[in-house]
């Protein structure tokens, strides 16, 4: 636990930097507010074009990317402890190698499934 104390100190410095930026901007920056400066940027179009429902499916593909990322991230995370002990375990024989090959087979099956139904053609 002791090794993580400097990281806490670094976090404090980072927070000080961010607070400094925030305070300096508000102190130094001038305050001239007009109406059009306060509305969000709409490219000069009064009523934004795509207010209709058409946006919904477009955004669903991002949900798909996030779900597939979550599941493959979990699988990626399992490689880390395995890699740590793999080299020593070679002295005791190849069971860790076989374990990982079986694990990778299922990952590859998952990848093939995702690509075959092109769930990821996010355009």
């Amino acid at each position: 636990m002791e090794a993580f104390l400097p990281i806490g100190i670094l976090f404090l410095f980072a927070v000080m930097l961010c607070a400094g930026i925030y305070v300096l901007t508000n102190l130094l920056g001038p305050r001239i507010f007009q109406k059009n400066k306060l509305s969000t940027y709409e490219c000069g179009v009064q009523n934004p074009l795509f207010e209709t429902n058409a946006r919904l499916p477009f955004k669903f593909r991002f949900y798909l990317v996030a779900v597939i990322f979550l599941l493959f991230d979990v699988e990626g995370a399992f490689f880390l402890p395995w890699a740590l002990v793999y080299r020593e375990s070679l002295q005791l024989g190849a069971n860790l190698l076989i374990a990982m090959l079986v694990f990778s087979v299922f990952i590859i099956l998952g990848l093939i499934y995702v690509f075959q139904n092109n769930y990821l053609n996010v355009d």
Binding site: M1, F4, N53, P57, F60, V74, W82, F106, N117
Partner: protein, 170 residues
Amino acid sequence: MREVFFMIFSIFTVLAALGVVVSRHAIFSAFSLVLAFFGLAILYLLWGTSFVSMLQILIYTGAIVVLFVFVVMLLDLKKEETLDSAKTGPLVMAGLSVWFFSLLILRALNRATYFKSTNVEAASDIKSISTLLFSKYLWGFEILSVFLLALIVSACVLARAEYMERKADQ
């Protein structure tokens, strides 16, 4: 020194968890969920397991809550009245059950005595956890990969991208 950190981060985590339940818009509860999981990761660190706390940040805060935020951003939710619109009945019942349940936990834990094994320090660093994971719990690890494959298929079918396109375009 360590007790001070324990106290600070315990209170921080509980307050963040409270923020999840109380906040009005779903994205603020997602944000306080991130803070709660970050506080939990630091608590695991204070207990000495750096591996589990890093895993917590990597998977929980880095992937699961990102998925929550994605879904919240996907459905343009309006600011909702949370607590006052709930009828008083479930509120009281929920409060009572919550209070009773936490008491139950504390009571049960109070009598538990641990059988302290000899090597506390050795057992907790990453190498011993990983060797244990891949020696005694290897089958759990293999079943997990099948489980994750089934999950990928089910998550993709649930999303059913093509069907949603047609439905939304009508």
